[in-house]
């Protein structure tokens, strides 16, 4: 069986519950390597029921770590320098 990665676009659901703007067309800048790109083009590891980890496709640094806690979410953005909306 291959990798369980998906496209950044696949994380749009949980991210849209947290952010009020369209996140997949927003630009990120990676703390790990400085890459800037659209979040929809990043890699997503969906850890079913546990959380969604969005990683930089160049350096695998976790850009967004979003955990599904109880009823809500906990979002850790320390891997992202900034996000600019489309």
């Amino acid at each position: 069986m291959g990798e369980f990665r998906l496209d950044g676009n696949a994380a749009a659901g949980p991210l849209r519950e947290v952010f009020s703007f369209e996140v997949t067309t927003a630009q990120y800048s990676c703390v790990g390597c400085g890459r800037t790109d659209r979040l929809g083009a990043a890699m997503v590891y969906e850890v079913r029921q546990l959380g969604t980890i969005v990683r930089c496709p160049s350096c695998d640094n976790p850009l967004i770590r979003l955990a599904h806690n109880r009823e809500g979410y906990l979002v850790d953005l320390r891997g992202t320098r900034y996000l600019t909306t489309g």
Binding site: D7, N9, G13, R16, F21, T24, T85
Partner: protein, 264 residues
């Protein structure tokens, strides 16, 4: 533009669209339409649906009586112009959610969903082209929404669909694709069958590879918009090949369905 700040200009009385975080809502299944032996389309009625862009998806959440939940993403198959929201689901034998959607769900049942989502993997006629769409199995679903949208607005953006299925019987939307091609000179659909093929099959019968992509074109000199969708290994193979051929990664968009998401 700053989200939430409306850029109202002039004297129009446009109501500022409030930024809204997304939440779950209930849809009603109006009809279940068999497409192939392993796929069904779910026609949904969603109260207050605000429309979508072709290529976007919804998240579906199933809840058992004891509170246990499972959640998956499904692309929207219908065009924004269509009256009803349609999803097309392929049944994975050992799957948790897809067999429920294809075999258990009936007209009249309710379904919890969240969407539309994923503006990155989306196309509108005004985005132009030419379009190169590459699909494996149920990966054709969001690409079909694009073709349906293109037809609905009579767009003449040149479009090519290269579509890999396991067998002739498993080609989703086969008749509709034939119809669309027949009435539209700027649309081409090229099939490849990976497991079995009917007698007299004259098109490709192997997995999509670099040679096939070169033949199907267009050449890299022509700047195209490419959308690739299907099981993760197929999507990654095709994306790598397109870049190798010389296409600009900025215009190659991918939507991985997962390791087993869809045949082809």
């Amino acid at each position: 533009m700053i989200p939430g700040v409306s850029s109202a200009t002039g004297g129009t009385s446009a109501v500022a669209v409030q930024p809204r975080r997304l939440s779950w809502q209930l849809a009603e299944v109006v009809e279940v339409v068999p497409e192939t032996p392993r796929t069904r389309s779910l026609v949904l009625e969603v109260a207050g649906w605000k429309g979508h862009k072709a290529g976007q998806h919804v998240d579906i959440r199933l809840t058992a009586e004891d509170g246990y939940q499972a959640q998956r993403s499904y692309s929207i198959a219908s065009a924004p112009e269509d009256e009803r929201l349609v999803l097309t689901v392929e049944r994975l034998e050992d799957g948790e959610v897809s067999p429920y959607l294809t075999d258990v769900l009936m007209a009249g049942d309710k379904l919890e969903l969240r969407g539309p989502i994923g503006g990155y993997f989306a196309w509108e006629a005004k985005d132009g082209g030419p379009l190169l769409l590459v699909a494996g199995g149920s990966g054709v679903v969001p690409l079909m929404a694009m073709l349906r949208h293109r037809a609905a607005v009579s767009s003449d953006v040149p479009a090519r669909l290269l579509y890999s299925s396991r067998s002739y019987e498993e080609i989703i939307y086969r008749k509709e694709l034939e119809r669309l091609v027949a009435q539209d000179g700027s649309l081409e659909v090229i099939h490849t069958l990976t497991r079995s093929r009917p007698k007299g099959w004259s098109s490709y019968h192997r997995r999509i590879d670099l040679k096939m992509l070169k033949e199907v074109g267009p050449p890299p000199a022509e700047r195209l918009l490419a959308f690739i969708c299907g099981p993760t290994p197929l999507v990654e193979g095709v994306a790598t090949a397109l870049v190798e051929i010389g296409h600009d990664t900025l215009y190659v968009k991918t939507e991985r369905f997962g390791p087993t998401g869809g045949g082809g």
